[in-house]
Symmetry: C2
Subunit: 303 residues, 2 copies
Protein backbone atom coordinates (compact mmCIF):
# COMPACT_ATOMS: atom_id res chain seq x y z
CA UNK A 1 0.00 0.00 0.00
CA UNK A 2 1.25 3.48 -0.88
CA UNK A 3 2.20 5.77 2.02
CA UNK A 4 -0.59 8.11 3.07
CA UNK A 5 -0.54 11.29 0.96
CA UNK A 6 0.62 14.41 2.76
CA UNK A 7 -1.71 16.82 1.07
CA UNK A 8 -5.40 17.04 0.33
CA UNK A 9 -6.10 16.76 -3.41
CA UNK A 10 -7.85 19.69 -5.11
CA UNK A 11 -10.79 17.35 -5.89
CA UNK A 12 -11.35 16.41 -2.23
CA UNK A 13 -10.88 19.98 -1.12
CA UNK A 14 -13.53 21.16 -3.57
CA UNK A 15 -15.94 18.34 -2.73
CA UNK A 16 -15.61 19.09 1.00
CA UNK A 17 -16.21 22.80 0.45
CA UNK A 18 -19.22 22.07 -1.75
CA UNK A 19 -20.68 19.89 1.00
CA UNK A 20 -20.26 22.62 3.61
CA UNK A 21 -22.14 25.10 1.42
CA UNK A 22 -24.80 22.59 0.48
CA UNK A 23 -25.47 21.58 4.11
CA UNK A 24 -25.60 25.16 5.36
CA UNK A 25 -28.14 25.98 2.68
CA UNK A 26 -30.23 22.87 3.36
CA UNK A 27 -30.26 23.43 7.12
CA UNK A 28 -31.06 27.11 6.66
CA UNK A 29 -34.11 26.10 4.65
CA UNK A 30 -35.20 23.43 7.14
CA UNK A 31 -34.81 25.84 10.07
CA UNK A 32 -36.07 29.18 8.77
CA UNK A 33 -35.92 32.31 10.90
CA UNK A 34 -39.25 33.04 12.52
CA UNK A 35 -41.05 35.72 14.51
CA UNK A 36 -43.14 33.23 16.49
CA UNK A 37 -43.18 33.68 20.27
CA UNK A 38 -40.87 30.65 20.55
CA UNK A 39 -38.32 32.19 18.12
CA UNK A 40 -35.56 31.69 20.73
CA UNK A 41 -35.80 27.93 20.18
CA UNK A 42 -35.32 28.26 16.42
CA UNK A 43 -32.51 30.78 16.89
CA UNK A 44 -30.68 28.37 19.18
CA UNK A 45 -31.22 25.47 16.75
CA UNK A 46 -29.82 27.60 13.91
CA UNK A 47 -26.92 28.76 16.07
CA UNK A 48 -26.04 25.20 17.03
CA UNK A 49 -26.22 23.82 13.49
CA UNK A 50 -24.89 26.68 11.36
CA UNK A 51 -21.84 27.23 13.58
CA UNK A 52 -19.40 25.71 11.12
CA UNK A 53 -17.85 22.26 11.31
CA UNK A 54 -16.30 19.97 8.76
CA UNK A 55 -19.62 18.34 7.75
CA UNK A 56 -17.88 14.98 7.43
CA UNK A 57 -21.10 13.01 7.90
CA UNK A 58 -23.00 14.87 5.16
CA UNK A 59 -19.95 14.36 2.94
CA UNK A 60 -20.17 10.62 3.59
CA UNK A 61 -23.88 10.60 2.71
CA UNK A 62 -23.35 12.51 -0.54
CA UNK A 63 -20.41 10.35 -1.60
CA UNK A 64 -22.09 7.04 -0.77
CA UNK A 65 -25.28 8.17 -2.54
CA UNK A 66 -23.23 9.00 -5.63
CA UNK A 67 -22.01 5.39 -5.80
CA UNK A 68 -25.60 4.28 -6.42
CA UNK A 69 -26.67 7.19 -8.65
CA UNK A 70 -29.06 8.54 -6.03
CA UNK A 71 -30.65 11.93 -6.80
CA UNK A 72 -28.51 14.45 -4.84
CA UNK A 73 -31.69 16.35 -3.84
CA UNK A 74 -32.70 13.28 -1.82
CA UNK A 75 -29.26 12.59 -0.41
CA UNK A 76 -29.07 16.23 0.70
CA UNK A 77 -32.08 15.80 2.96
CA UNK A 78 -30.57 12.74 4.64
CA UNK A 79 -27.25 14.58 4.97
CA UNK A 80 -28.99 17.50 6.67
CA UNK A 81 -30.95 15.19 8.99
CA UNK A 82 -27.77 13.45 10.13
CA UNK A 83 -26.05 16.78 10.69
CA UNK A 84 -28.97 17.90 12.89
CA UNK A 85 -28.47 14.77 14.99
CA UNK A 86 -24.72 15.39 15.18
CA UNK A 87 -25.35 19.01 16.23
CA UNK A 88 -27.89 17.92 18.88
CA UNK A 89 -25.32 15.53 20.36
CA UNK A 90 -22.70 18.29 20.58
CA UNK A 91 -25.17 20.73 22.20
CA UNK A 92 -26.13 18.19 24.88
CA UNK A 93 -22.53 16.97 25.36
CA UNK A 94 -21.36 20.55 25.95
CA UNK A 95 -23.88 21.13 28.79
CA UNK A 96 -22.51 21.89 32.29
CA UNK A 97 -23.76 18.51 33.56
CA UNK A 98 -21.85 16.71 30.80
CA UNK A 99 -18.52 18.02 29.38
CA UNK A 100 -19.17 21.59 30.60
CA UNK A 101 -17.63 23.26 27.54
CA UNK A 102 -17.87 27.01 27.07
CA UNK A 103 -16.41 27.10 23.58
CA UNK A 104 -16.78 25.08 20.39
CA UNK A 105 -15.21 25.94 17.05
CA UNK A 106 -14.05 29.24 18.50
CA UNK A 107 -17.60 30.31 19.42
CA UNK A 108 -19.64 30.17 22.62
CA UNK A 109 -21.48 26.87 23.06
CA UNK A 110 -25.29 27.01 22.80
CA UNK A 111 -25.95 27.02 26.56
CA UNK A 112 -23.45 29.87 26.98
CA UNK A 113 -24.82 31.89 24.05
CA UNK A 114 -28.42 31.29 25.23
CA UNK A 115 -29.08 29.39 28.45
CA UNK A 116 -29.12 25.78 29.63
CA UNK A 117 -32.86 25.23 29.25
CA UNK A 118 -32.82 26.56 25.69
CA UNK A 119 -29.83 24.35 24.85
CA UNK A 120 -31.56 21.23 26.17
CA UNK A 121 -34.70 22.04 24.17
CA UNK A 122 -32.77 22.98 21.03
CA UNK A 123 -31.07 19.58 21.15
CA UNK A 124 -34.38 17.80 21.71
CA UNK A 125 -35.92 19.73 18.82
CA UNK A 126 -33.10 18.96 16.40
CA UNK A 127 -33.21 15.24 17.16
CA UNK A 128 -36.96 15.14 16.63
CA UNK A 129 -36.82 17.15 13.41
CA UNK A 130 -34.22 14.80 11.95
CA UNK A 131 -36.69 11.93 12.10
CA UNK A 132 -39.43 14.08 10.62
CA UNK A 133 -37.26 15.03 7.63
CA UNK A 134 -36.58 11.37 6.87
CA UNK A 135 -40.30 10.49 6.82
CA UNK A 136 -41.18 13.07 4.17
CA UNK A 137 -41.82 11.79 0.62
CA UNK A 138 -39.22 14.26 -0.73
CA UNK A 139 -36.59 12.06 0.94
CA UNK A 140 -37.66 8.97 -1.04
CA UNK A 141 -40.85 7.97 -2.78
CA UNK A 142 -40.81 4.48 -1.24
CA UNK A 143 -42.06 4.48 2.37
CA UNK A 144 -40.08 1.28 2.96
CA UNK A 145 -36.86 3.20 2.28
CA UNK A 146 -37.96 6.12 4.48
CA UNK A 147 -38.77 3.70 7.26
CA UNK A 148 -35.40 1.96 6.89
CA UNK A 149 -33.65 5.34 7.18
CA UNK A 150 -35.54 6.22 10.37
CA UNK A 151 -34.81 2.79 11.87
CA UNK A 152 -31.10 2.99 11.07
CA UNK A 153 -30.80 6.55 12.40
CA UNK A 154 -32.60 5.63 15.62
CA UNK A 155 -30.31 2.65 16.10
CA UNK A 156 -27.21 4.79 15.48
CA UNK A 157 -28.33 7.64 17.74
CA UNK A 158 -30.02 5.76 20.59
CA UNK A 159 -28.92 3.68 23.59
CA UNK A 160 -27.21 1.11 21.34
CA UNK A 161 -25.28 3.93 19.68
CA UNK A 162 -24.51 7.54 20.45
CA UNK A 163 -26.48 7.95 23.68
CA UNK A 164 -25.04 4.71 25.09
CA UNK A 165 -21.54 5.79 24.03
CA UNK A 166 -21.93 9.14 25.75
CA UNK A 167 -23.07 7.36 28.92
CA UNK A 168 -19.90 5.22 28.73
CA UNK A 169 -17.82 8.34 28.15
CA UNK A 170 -19.15 9.82 31.41
CA UNK A 171 -18.63 6.53 33.27
CA UNK A 172 -15.06 6.61 31.93
CA UNK A 173 -14.36 9.75 33.97
CA UNK A 174 -14.43 7.72 37.17
CA UNK A 175 -13.61 4.21 35.86
CA UNK A 176 -10.37 3.16 34.18
CA UNK A 177 -11.15 1.77 30.71
CA UNK A 178 -8.94 -0.72 28.86
CA UNK A 179 -8.38 -0.53 25.11
CA UNK A 180 -11.34 -2.79 24.37
CA UNK A 181 -13.71 -0.64 26.41
CA UNK A 182 -12.43 2.59 24.84
CA UNK A 183 -12.91 1.10 21.36
CA UNK A 184 -16.44 -0.06 22.16
CA UNK A 185 -17.31 3.33 23.65
CA UNK A 186 -16.00 5.19 20.59
CA UNK A 187 -17.68 2.80 18.19
CA UNK A 188 -21.00 3.60 19.87
CA UNK A 189 -20.37 7.30 20.41
CA UNK A 190 -18.98 8.22 16.98
CA UNK A 191 -18.70 5.10 14.84
CA UNK A 192 -22.37 4.21 14.58
CA UNK A 193 -23.52 7.58 13.24
CA UNK A 194 -20.65 7.60 10.75
CA UNK A 195 -21.62 4.07 9.71
CA UNK A 196 -25.18 5.21 9.11
CA UNK A 197 -23.89 8.23 7.15
CA UNK A 198 -22.03 5.90 4.80
CA UNK A 199 -24.82 3.34 4.67
CA UNK A 200 -27.46 5.97 3.93
CA UNK A 201 -26.49 6.22 0.27
CA UNK A 202 -26.84 2.45 -0.07
CA UNK A 203 -30.25 2.51 1.63
CA UNK A 204 -31.43 5.33 -0.65
CA UNK A 205 -30.11 3.39 -3.66
CA UNK A 206 -31.64 0.08 -2.48
CA UNK A 207 -28.19 -1.45 -2.80
CA UNK A 208 -27.38 -5.05 -1.86
CA UNK A 209 -26.01 -6.22 1.49
CA UNK A 210 -22.45 -6.57 0.16
CA UNK A 211 -22.27 -2.84 -0.55
CA UNK A 212 -23.98 -1.88 2.69
CA UNK A 213 -21.53 -3.99 4.67
CA UNK A 214 -18.53 -2.59 2.78
CA UNK A 215 -19.61 0.96 3.56
CA UNK A 216 -20.35 0.38 7.24
CA UNK A 217 -17.06 -1.53 7.72
CA UNK A 218 -15.24 1.37 6.06
CA UNK A 219 -17.02 3.84 8.34
CA UNK A 220 -16.24 1.96 11.56
CA UNK A 221 -12.54 1.82 10.76
CA UNK A 222 -12.49 5.43 9.62
CA UNK A 223 -14.48 6.45 12.71
CA UNK A 224 -11.90 4.82 14.97
CA UNK A 225 -9.02 6.42 13.02
CA UNK A 226 -10.85 9.73 13.44
CA UNK A 227 -11.19 9.20 17.18
CA UNK A 228 -7.60 8.11 17.74
CA UNK A 229 -6.55 11.27 15.86
CA UNK A 230 -8.93 13.26 18.07
CA UNK A 231 -7.19 11.94 21.17
CA UNK A 232 -3.78 12.89 19.71
CA UNK A 233 -5.09 16.36 18.83
CA UNK A 234 -6.46 16.74 22.35
CA UNK A 235 -2.97 16.41 23.90
CA UNK A 236 -1.14 18.55 21.36
CA UNK A 237 -3.82 20.91 20.08
CA UNK A 238 -3.26 24.60 19.71
CA UNK A 239 -6.49 26.14 21.09
CA UNK A 240 -6.31 28.86 18.42
CA UNK A 241 -6.46 26.24 15.71
CA UNK A 242 -8.90 23.73 17.21
CA UNK A 243 -11.22 26.30 18.80
CA UNK A 244 -11.26 24.44 22.12
CA UNK A 245 -8.85 24.14 25.07
CA UNK A 246 -6.11 21.46 25.09
CA UNK A 247 -5.89 18.40 27.35
CA UNK A 248 -9.62 18.34 28.06
CA UNK A 249 -9.77 14.54 28.30
CA UNK A 250 -6.88 14.32 30.74
CA UNK A 251 -8.40 17.02 32.93
CA UNK A 252 -11.69 15.12 32.95
CA UNK A 253 -9.80 11.96 34.02
CA UNK A 254 -10.83 10.07 30.86
CA UNK A 255 -8.95 7.07 29.51
CA UNK A 256 -8.12 7.68 25.83
CA UNK A 257 -6.23 5.87 23.09
CA UNK A 258 -3.25 8.12 23.84
CA UNK A 259 -3.33 7.61 27.61
CA UNK A 260 -3.58 3.84 27.07
CA UNK A 261 -1.09 3.19 24.23
CA UNK A 262 1.04 6.34 24.03
CA UNK A 263 1.12 8.95 21.28
CA UNK A 264 3.45 7.18 18.87
CA UNK A 265 1.60 3.89 18.92
CA UNK A 266 -1.69 5.73 18.64
CA UNK A 267 -0.44 7.46 15.51
CA UNK A 268 0.54 4.12 13.95
CA UNK A 269 -2.80 2.65 14.92
CA UNK A 270 -4.69 5.49 13.23
CA UNK A 271 -2.65 5.01 10.04
CA UNK A 272 -3.36 1.29 10.08
CA UNK A 273 -7.08 1.85 10.60
CA UNK A 274 -7.24 4.28 7.68
CA UNK A 275 -5.59 1.71 5.40
CA UNK A 276 -7.97 -0.96 6.63
CA UNK A 277 -10.92 1.35 5.98
CA UNK A 278 -9.82 1.88 2.40
CA UNK A 279 -9.50 -1.86 1.77
CA UNK A 280 -13.24 -2.27 2.43
CA UNK A 281 -13.92 0.02 -0.53
CA UNK A 282 -12.30 -2.36 -3.04
CA UNK A 283 -15.77 -3.71 -3.95
CA UNK A 284 -16.38 -0.36 -5.67
CA UNK A 285 -13.40 -0.96 -7.98
CA UNK A 286 -11.94 2.52 -7.76
CA UNK A 287 -15.25 4.41 -7.98
CA UNK A 288 -15.03 5.51 -4.32
CA UNK A 289 -11.94 7.70 -4.67
CA UNK A 290 -13.27 10.55 -2.51
CA UNK A 291 -14.08 8.20 0.38
CA UNK A 292 -10.64 6.61 0.03
CA UNK A 293 -8.98 9.98 0.26
CA UNK A 294 -11.19 10.97 3.18
CA UNK A 295 -9.61 8.20 5.27
CA UNK A 296 -6.22 9.93 5.02
CA UNK A 297 -7.80 13.35 5.39
CA UNK A 298 -9.07 12.53 8.90
CA UNK A 299 -5.48 11.65 9.95
CA UNK A 300 -4.05 14.92 8.68
CA UNK A 301 -6.66 17.25 10.17
CA UNK A 302 -5.48 19.73 12.80
CA UNK A 303 -8.93 20.42 14.30
CA UNK B 1 -76.42 17.42 27.80
CA UNK B 2 -76.47 15.43 31.04
CA UNK B 3 -74.44 16.84 33.96
CA UNK B 4 -70.96 15.36 34.25
CA UNK B 5 -71.05 12.12 36.25
CA UNK B 6 -69.52 12.33 39.71
CA UNK B 7 -68.04 8.87 39.77
CA UNK B 8 -65.87 6.77 37.52
CA UNK B 9 -67.79 3.81 36.08
CA UNK B 10 -66.50 0.30 36.90
CA UNK B 11 -65.86 -0.20 33.15
CA UNK B 12 -63.61 2.86 32.85
CA UNK B 13 -61.84 2.01 36.09
CA UNK B 14 -61.08 -1.48 34.84
CA UNK B 15 -60.00 -0.30 31.40
CA UNK B 16 -57.65 2.27 32.95
CA UNK B 17 -56.16 -0.32 35.29
CA UNK B 18 -55.70 -2.76 32.42
CA UNK B 19 -53.85 -0.10 30.45
CA UNK B 20 -51.49 0.63 33.33
CA UNK B 21 -50.58 -3.05 33.60
CA UNK B 22 -50.29 -3.48 29.85
CA UNK B 23 -48.00 -0.46 29.44
CA UNK B 24 -45.77 -1.42 32.35
CA UNK B 25 -45.34 -4.86 30.85
CA UNK B 26 -44.69 -3.55 27.35
CA UNK B 27 -42.14 -0.97 28.54
CA UNK B 28 -40.44 -3.54 30.75
CA UNK B 29 -39.98 -5.73 27.69
CA UNK B 30 -38.74 -2.87 25.51
CA UNK B 31 -36.27 -1.73 28.21
CA UNK B 32 -34.91 -4.95 29.69
CA UNK B 33 -32.50 -4.90 32.61
CA UNK B 34 -28.91 -5.33 31.46
CA UNK B 35 -25.43 -5.90 32.83
CA UNK B 36 -23.73 -3.91 30.07
CA UNK B 37 -21.21 -1.27 31.17
CA UNK B 38 -23.80 1.41 30.33
CA UNK B 39 -26.45 -0.25 32.56
CA UNK B 40 -26.95 3.04 34.42
CA UNK B 41 -28.57 4.50 31.29
CA UNK B 42 -31.07 1.65 31.05
CA UNK B 43 -31.75 1.77 34.80
CA UNK B 44 -32.54 5.48 34.57
CA UNK B 45 -34.77 4.93 31.52
CA UNK B 46 -36.66 2.21 33.41
CA UNK B 47 -36.88 4.37 36.52
CA UNK B 48 -38.27 7.29 34.54
CA UNK B 49 -40.87 5.24 32.67
CA UNK B 50 -41.98 2.65 35.21
CA UNK B 51 -42.51 5.23 37.96
CA UNK B 52 -46.29 5.10 37.78
CA UNK B 53 -48.57 7.62 36.15
CA UNK B 54 -52.10 7.47 34.82
CA UNK B 55 -51.06 6.28 31.33
CA UNK B 56 -53.75 8.45 29.76
CA UNK B 57 -52.01 8.59 26.39
CA UNK B 58 -51.66 4.79 26.07
CA UNK B 59 -55.31 4.54 27.09
CA UNK B 60 -56.22 6.89 24.24
CA UNK B 61 -54.20 4.81 21.77
CA UNK B 62 -55.82 1.53 22.88
CA UNK B 63 -59.33 2.98 22.80
CA UNK B 64 -58.95 4.68 19.42
CA UNK B 65 -57.40 1.52 17.97
CA UNK B 66 -60.39 -0.47 19.19
CA UNK B 67 -62.73 1.74 17.17
CA UNK B 68 -61.07 0.46 13.99
CA UNK B 69 -60.56 -3.15 15.08
CA UNK B 70 -56.79 -2.79 15.19
CA UNK B 71 -54.87 -5.74 16.64
CA UNK B 72 -54.17 -4.75 20.29
CA UNK B 73 -50.63 -6.19 19.97
CA UNK B 74 -49.87 -3.46 17.45
CA UNK B 75 -51.65 -0.68 19.33
CA UNK B 76 -49.71 -1.66 22.44
CA UNK B 77 -46.40 -0.87 20.75
CA UNK B 78 -47.59 2.57 19.70
CA UNK B 79 -48.98 3.16 23.19
CA UNK B 80 -45.60 2.26 24.72
CA UNK B 81 -43.71 4.47 22.23
CA UNK B 82 -45.89 7.48 23.10
CA UNK B 83 -45.44 6.83 26.80
CA UNK B 84 -41.65 6.79 26.33
CA UNK B 85 -41.91 10.21 24.69
CA UNK B 86 -44.13 11.49 27.50
CA UNK B 87 -41.64 10.16 30.07
CA UNK B 88 -38.70 11.76 28.24
CA UNK B 89 -40.47 15.12 28.31
CA UNK B 90 -41.07 14.88 32.06
CA UNK B 91 -37.44 13.89 32.74
CA UNK B 92 -36.12 16.89 30.77
CA UNK B 93 -38.77 19.29 32.16
CA UNK B 94 -37.82 18.32 35.72
CA UNK B 95 -34.12 19.21 35.22
CA UNK B 96 -32.62 22.01 37.34
CA UNK B 97 -32.27 24.25 34.28
CA UNK B 98 -35.99 23.80 33.52
CA UNK B 99 -38.64 23.35 36.25
CA UNK B 100 -36.08 22.18 38.83
CA UNK B 101 -38.36 19.57 40.40
CA UNK B 102 -37.04 17.16 43.01
CA UNK B 103 -40.13 15.02 43.25
CA UNK B 104 -42.62 13.50 40.84
CA UNK B 105 -45.43 11.12 41.72
CA UNK B 106 -44.04 10.95 45.28
CA UNK B 107 -40.63 9.73 44.10
CA UNK B 108 -37.32 11.46 43.41
CA UNK B 109 -37.07 12.79 39.85
CA UNK B 110 -34.55 11.05 37.58
CA UNK B 111 -31.79 13.66 37.95
CA UNK B 112 -32.16 13.46 41.75
CA UNK B 113 -32.22 9.65 41.84
CA UNK B 114 -29.25 9.45 39.42
CA UNK B 115 -27.56 12.65 38.23
CA UNK B 116 -28.22 15.39 35.70
CA UNK B 117 -26.07 13.94 32.91
CA UNK B 118 -27.77 10.56 33.22
CA UNK B 119 -31.19 12.22 33.20
CA UNK B 120 -30.41 14.18 30.04
CA UNK B 121 -29.16 11.01 28.31
CA UNK B 122 -32.06 8.88 29.56
CA UNK B 123 -34.47 11.40 28.03
CA UNK B 124 -32.53 11.46 24.76
CA UNK B 125 -32.50 7.67 24.69
CA UNK B 126 -36.24 7.32 25.33
CA UNK B 127 -37.14 9.80 22.59
CA UNK B 128 -34.91 7.98 20.10
CA UNK B 129 -36.22 4.54 21.05
CA UNK B 130 -39.81 5.66 20.55
CA UNK B 131 -39.12 6.32 16.87
CA UNK B 132 -37.32 3.01 16.52
CA UNK B 133 -40.27 1.07 17.96
CA UNK B 134 -42.63 2.67 15.44
CA UNK B 135 -40.44 1.64 12.48
CA UNK B 136 -40.46 -2.05 13.34
CA UNK B 137 -42.69 -4.34 11.23
CA UNK B 138 -44.34 -5.64 14.42
CA UNK B 139 -45.99 -2.21 14.71
CA UNK B 140 -47.65 -2.52 11.28
CA UNK B 141 -46.91 -4.59 8.18
CA UNK B 142 -47.35 -1.57 5.88
CA UNK B 143 -44.26 0.71 5.87
CA UNK B 144 -46.53 3.57 4.77
CA UNK B 145 -48.40 3.31 8.07
CA UNK B 146 -45.17 3.04 10.08
CA UNK B 147 -43.83 6.12 8.32
CA UNK B 148 -47.06 8.04 8.99
CA UNK B 149 -46.78 7.18 12.69
CA UNK B 150 -43.18 8.41 12.87
CA UNK B 151 -44.09 11.62 11.02
CA UNK B 152 -47.06 12.35 13.29
CA UNK B 153 -45.07 11.61 16.45
CA UNK B 154 -42.20 13.85 15.33
CA UNK B 155 -44.63 16.66 14.55
CA UNK B 156 -46.33 16.28 17.95
CA UNK B 157 -43.07 16.07 19.91
CA UNK B 158 -40.88 18.57 18.03
CA UNK B 159 -40.60 22.36 17.74
CA UNK B 160 -44.17 22.64 16.37
CA UNK B 161 -45.41 20.65 19.35
CA UNK B 162 -44.07 19.65 22.74
CA UNK B 163 -40.57 21.15 22.52
CA UNK B 164 -41.95 24.45 21.21
CA UNK B 165 -44.59 24.45 23.96
CA UNK B 166 -41.98 23.86 26.63
CA UNK B 167 -39.92 26.77 25.24
CA UNK B 168 -43.05 28.96 25.52
CA UNK B 169 -43.63 27.70 29.06
CA UNK B 170 -40.14 28.91 30.04
CA UNK B 171 -40.62 32.24 28.25
CA UNK B 172 -43.88 32.57 30.21
CA UNK B 173 -41.88 32.75 33.45
CA UNK B 174 -40.67 36.21 32.53
CA UNK B 175 -43.38 37.36 30.09
CA UNK B 176 -47.05 37.87 30.93
CA UNK B 177 -49.20 35.65 28.68
CA UNK B 178 -52.81 36.37 27.76
CA UNK B 179 -55.43 33.65 27.46
CA UNK B 180 -54.71 33.09 23.76
CA UNK B 181 -50.99 32.63 24.38
CA UNK B 182 -51.60 30.26 27.29
CA UNK B 183 -53.98 28.20 25.15
CA UNK B 184 -51.51 28.03 22.26
CA UNK B 185 -48.69 27.07 24.63
CA UNK B 186 -50.75 24.27 26.20
CA UNK B 187 -51.99 23.04 22.84
CA UNK B 188 -48.36 22.63 21.77
CA UNK B 189 -47.03 21.36 25.09
CA UNK B 190 -49.75 18.82 25.92
CA UNK B 191 -52.45 18.91 23.27
CA UNK B 192 -50.44 17.73 20.29
CA UNK B 193 -49.15 14.54 21.88
CA UNK B 194 -52.66 13.73 23.13
CA UNK B 195 -54.00 14.41 19.64
CA UNK B 196 -51.46 11.97 18.21
CA UNK B 197 -52.39 9.41 20.88
CA UNK B 198 -56.02 9.55 19.76
CA UNK B 199 -55.17 9.71 16.07
CA UNK B 200 -52.78 6.75 16.30
CA UNK B 201 -55.60 4.19 16.30
CA UNK B 202 -57.03 5.77 13.15
CA UNK B 203 -53.62 5.72 11.47
CA UNK B 204 -53.10 2.06 12.41
CA UNK B 205 -56.61 1.28 11.11
CA UNK B 206 -56.12 3.32 7.91
CA UNK B 207 -59.28 5.20 8.79
CA UNK B 208 -60.65 8.09 6.76
CA UNK B 209 -59.98 11.78 7.39
CA UNK B 210 -63.37 12.35 9.05
CA UNK B 211 -62.51 9.93 11.85
CA UNK B 212 -58.96 11.23 12.20
CA UNK B 213 -60.26 14.79 12.52
CA UNK B 214 -62.94 13.79 15.03
CA UNK B 215 -60.34 12.11 17.24
CA UNK B 216 -57.80 14.93 17.11
CA UNK B 217 -60.51 17.56 17.77
CA UNK B 218 -61.66 15.49 20.75
CA UNK B 219 -58.08 15.27 22.00
CA UNK B 220 -57.35 18.99 21.72
CA UNK B 221 -60.46 19.89 23.74
CA UNK B 222 -59.78 17.17 26.27
CA UNK B 223 -56.13 18.22 26.47
CA UNK B 224 -57.13 21.77 27.29
CA UNK B 225 -59.69 20.58 29.87
CA UNK B 226 -56.89 18.46 31.34
CA UNK B 227 -54.56 21.45 31.51
CA UNK B 228 -57.12 23.84 33.02
CA UNK B 229 -57.76 21.19 35.67
CA UNK B 230 -54.00 20.90 36.17
CA UNK B 231 -53.79 24.62 36.88
CA UNK B 232 -56.66 24.33 39.39
CA UNK B 233 -54.97 21.33 41.06
CA UNK B 234 -51.71 23.29 41.24
CA UNK B 235 -53.28 25.98 43.45
CA UNK B 236 -55.27 23.64 45.68
CA UNK B 237 -53.30 20.40 45.56
CA UNK B 238 -52.47 18.40 48.63
CA UNK B 239 -48.79 17.40 48.11
CA UNK B 240 -49.51 14.04 49.73
CA UNK B 241 -52.09 13.27 47.07
CA UNK B 242 -50.47 14.79 43.97
CA UNK B 243 -46.90 13.78 44.82
CA UNK B 244 -45.58 17.25 44.08
CA UNK B 245 -45.52 20.59 45.95
CA UNK B 246 -48.43 23.06 45.61
CA UNK B 247 -48.39 26.46 43.87
CA UNK B 248 -45.42 25.60 41.68
CA UNK B 249 -46.64 27.71 38.75
CA UNK B 250 -47.22 30.79 40.86
CA UNK B 251 -43.78 30.46 42.44
CA UNK B 252 -42.23 30.21 38.96
CA UNK B 253 -44.09 33.39 37.95
CA UNK B 254 -46.09 31.58 35.24
CA UNK B 255 -49.38 32.83 33.82
CA UNK B 256 -51.97 30.03 34.04
CA UNK B 257 -55.66 29.61 33.26
CA UNK B 258 -56.36 30.15 36.96
CA UNK B 259 -54.20 33.27 37.29
CA UNK B 260 -55.83 34.72 34.16
CA UNK B 261 -59.52 33.86 34.61
CA UNK B 262 -59.87 32.89 38.27
CA UNK B 263 -60.60 29.46 39.74
CA UNK B 264 -64.38 29.45 39.34
CA UNK B 265 -64.35 30.49 35.70
CA UNK B 266 -61.54 28.03 35.02
CA UNK B 267 -63.65 25.23 36.45
CA UNK B 268 -66.58 26.16 34.21
CA UNK B 269 -64.28 26.37 31.22
CA UNK B 270 -62.91 22.89 31.86
CA UNK B 271 -66.45 21.49 32.09
CA UNK B 272 -67.39 23.20 28.83
CA UNK B 273 -64.29 21.87 27.07
CA UNK B 274 -65.05 18.31 28.22
CA UNK B 275 -68.57 18.54 26.79
CA UNK B 276 -67.22 19.94 23.56
CA UNK B 277 -64.68 17.11 23.38
CA UNK B 278 -67.43 14.52 23.70
CA UNK B 279 -69.48 16.11 20.92
CA UNK B 280 -66.67 15.39 18.46
CA UNK B 281 -67.13 11.68 19.16
CA UNK B 282 -70.69 11.61 17.82
CA UNK B 283 -69.40 10.28 14.48
CA UNK B 284 -68.72 7.01 16.29
CA UNK B 285 -72.41 6.69 17.18
CA UNK B 286 -71.95 5.63 20.77
CA UNK B 287 -69.08 3.19 20.12
CA UNK B 288 -66.54 5.49 21.86
CA UNK B 289 -68.06 5.27 25.36
CA UNK B 290 -64.71 4.95 27.15
CA UNK B 291 -63.29 8.05 25.48
CA UNK B 292 -66.49 9.95 26.30
CA UNK B 293 -66.19 9.02 29.94
CA UNK B 294 -62.50 9.88 29.94
CA UNK B 295 -63.36 13.52 29.24
CA UNK B 296 -65.18 13.75 32.59
CA UNK B 297 -62.55 11.65 34.31
CA UNK B 298 -59.82 14.24 33.63
CA UNK B 299 -61.97 16.89 35.38
CA UNK B 300 -62.48 14.78 38.49
CA UNK B 301 -58.87 13.69 38.96
CA UNK B 302 -57.08 14.82 42.12
CA UNK B 303 -53.50 14.33 40.86
Amino acid sequence: MAPSPRETSPELKEALEDTVQMVDKAIGRLLPETDLAEAQLYDAMRYGTLAGGKRLRPFMVMQSAKLFNVDPARAKRVAAAIELVHAYSLIHDDLPAMDNSDMRRGKLTVHRAYDEATAILAGDGLLTMAFQILTEPETHEDPYVRCALVAALADAAGPHGMVGGQMLDLIGETTEFDLGSISRMQRMKTGKLMAFSCEAGAILGKAGDMYRRALTSYAYDLGLAFQVTDDILDVEADPNESGKPANQDDKAGKSTFVSTMGKEQARQRAEMLAEQAIRHLHVFQGRAKMLEELAYYVLRRRA
